[in-house]
């Protein structure tokens, strides 16, 4: 990975420095919002949008190429499909272990943790799927719309 300062797309030193300082905290906050959705306002959609916004901020300040060094186009494509697949996969797994679709308590037959605990953990698994999908698709939409589909350079 090259040094982020080599990219010249964003010329302004103040913007580049402040974005470089902010992005790690934004990403930690996004992860916090996803995993803390059980106890506070938040969850997959909100946390995913925050994570996606951090990559869009990178693209705005350092150029689209720089943001694609942190999440390449192919990794982004994998995440696009992985998110909904996690959600649907958890639902299908529930049916395979003798429950209804998305009835997480059926997963107790797979790993016995307790029925109620599995409902709680199933919600978490599903929220992670939502977060992955929302994050990568936000970034995909930004890349495509700002570069007219070429996904190499734009805003």
């Amino acid at each position: 990975m090259r040094d982020i300062n080599e990219h010249t797309a964003g010329e302004d030193l103040i913007i580049k420095t402040s974005v470089r300082l902010m992005v790690p905290f934004i990403q930690v906050f996004g992860l916090y919002v996803i995993v803390h959705g059980h106890y506070s306002p938040g969850g997959g959609f909100q946390g995913g949008v925050i994570l996606g916004a951090s990559f869009i901020l990178l693209a705005l300040a350092f150029g689209m190429k720089a943001s694609q060094e942190y999440m390449t186009v192919s990794v982004n494509a994998v995440f696009n499909n992985l998110g909904p697949a996690i959600f649907v996969g958890v639902g299908v797994l529930c049916t395979l272990f003798g429950g209804l679709f998305l009835d997480y308590s059926a997963l107790d037959n797979l790993i016995p943790l307790g029925v109620v605990e599995w409902r709680s953990f199933g919600i978490f698994l599903v929220e992670v799927g939502v977060g992955v999908a929302v994050m990568s698709i936000m970034v995909l939409l930004y890349w495509n719309l700002s570069s007219g589909g070429a996904m190499d350079e734009g805003l």
Partner: protein, 91 residues
């Protein structure tokens, strides 16, 4: 033709507004939603899911199907933009 479209829009809008007359009042404690569904979630959510945030419990568990298709809607939006705009770079 334009006037006809305007007339159709106005008539439909008026009918929809007329329909809202039969809605329960905003925040009415005796409307159907607050007499049997909301109390069930509020009383049973922690006991059944161990999730203190009832909104998350409803979204993730009771209405999991709805949330799944919300994700699919976002996925479809991404794929639609990709299929319309994406082009290979000219080498």
């Amino acid at each position: 033709m334009k006037n006809l479209a305007l007339l159709a829009t106005l008539v439909t809008g008026a009918l929809l507004l007329y329909g809202t007359k039969d809605f329960p009042a905003w925040g009415d404690p005796r409307d159907p939603a607050s007499t049997y569904l909301s109390p069930y979630y509020i009383e049973k959510a922690i006991e059944q899911t161990h999730v203190p945030n009832i909104v998350t419990a409803v979204l993730g568990d009771y209405r999991g199907y709805d949330t799944m298709f919300e994700t699919v809607v976002i996925y479809c939006a991404g794929m639609a933009v990709l299929s319309v705009l994406w082009r290979k770079k000219e080498e």
